[in-house]
Amino acid sequence: MSDAALNATRPYEPTFGDYVALLKPRVMSLVVFTALVGLLVAPVSLHPVETFAAILFIALGAGASGALNMWYDADIDAVMKRTAARPVPSGRVEPGEALAIGVGLSGLSVVMLGLATNLAAAALLAFTIFFYAVIYTMWLKRWTPQNIVIGGAAGAFPPMVGWVAATGSVSLEACLMFALIFLWTPPHFWALCLFMKSDYDNAGVPMLTVTHGRKSTRRHILAYTLILAPAPIWLALTSVGGPVTLITAIGLNAWFVKRAVDIWRRDEEQAQHDSYAVEKKFFRFSLYYLFLHFVALIADAVIRGLL
């Protein structure tokens, strides 16, 4: 390398942490958790090193799709308050670097998951990355207000990939874990849209709140919450479920439906009056809702192991 090249300085030298931020660590933590549950509740158990490797490469695949998302969406991320500080729109990382990291880690994670577990899991991970980066990010997100409904599938695949990594095939239990996250995503995200109003309006992303109005979004939240409720109860009645999952599912869904009805009954005037308190509470609760369902699955697996 010449001295000229060595001395060429960028306005900002990206740190290792900036590259890690490209992988959306918070999303990765959810992926790690749900994939781990999918893998642990499966009837076939892997060696601990294989389990660790499988979870790591599933998380890496999710991170890679996050980097591709940041590369493609840098223009709209820059105008949204929530995403403006991300590495690419803030200028800390070059778009080309984000693309290279996304493509490189995608390939690495798929190949390594295939070697660590099986080809079916690797193929499903490759499809998940493709679904999030291409189907959701490049196609649906800017085209249809149903973007989050179909795009939610990308976030729903990790427990299924975990299950397939252990068993080598898809089953009803894996599909129901998928359905739980898939159907949970729209009400969770639309509640966020209700109180993050200006962000999506400014970016011109066709969110339901922008295209169909806020009253319609409230109706959609209730409708999807009602469709969601049977999924975890059905899951509790399968081989991976048990008393803990069943009680948790009934309790959480009764609470979730009640909150969704509250949101549906309110109008904008009431929401603005208390600074969207009910919508914010619903959004926060939705995080616990998903987390506790998967914790319950682990609890039942532990109970089965002790009996």
Binding site: D3, T9, F16, Y19, V49, E50, L115
Partner: protein, 66 residues
């Protein structure tokens, strides 16, 4: 011709990034080594024809021919 320095300014500037990449690669090597040991210990990768007579595998070939 510029003088060759043992530690260029760029090394200082990029130390944390290089350290992070180095540790990540080391962790990757350790993981692949661990995975290899698990697979070899279990014998998954040894199921191939070699110079040692393997009656069990020969039987499989005969079955496949039928």
């Amino acid at each position: 011709m510029s003088e060759l320095k043992a530690t260029h300014e760029i090394h200082t500037r990029r130390f944390s990034r290089n350290l992070g990449v180095g540790l990540t690669l080391l962790a990757m090597v350790a993981l692949i080594f661990g995975l290899t040991m698990v697979k070899i210990t279990r014998g998954e990768l040894n199921e191939r024809f070699d110079h040692v007579a393997r009656p069990a595998m020969e039987l499989k070939v005969e079955e496949a021919d039928q």
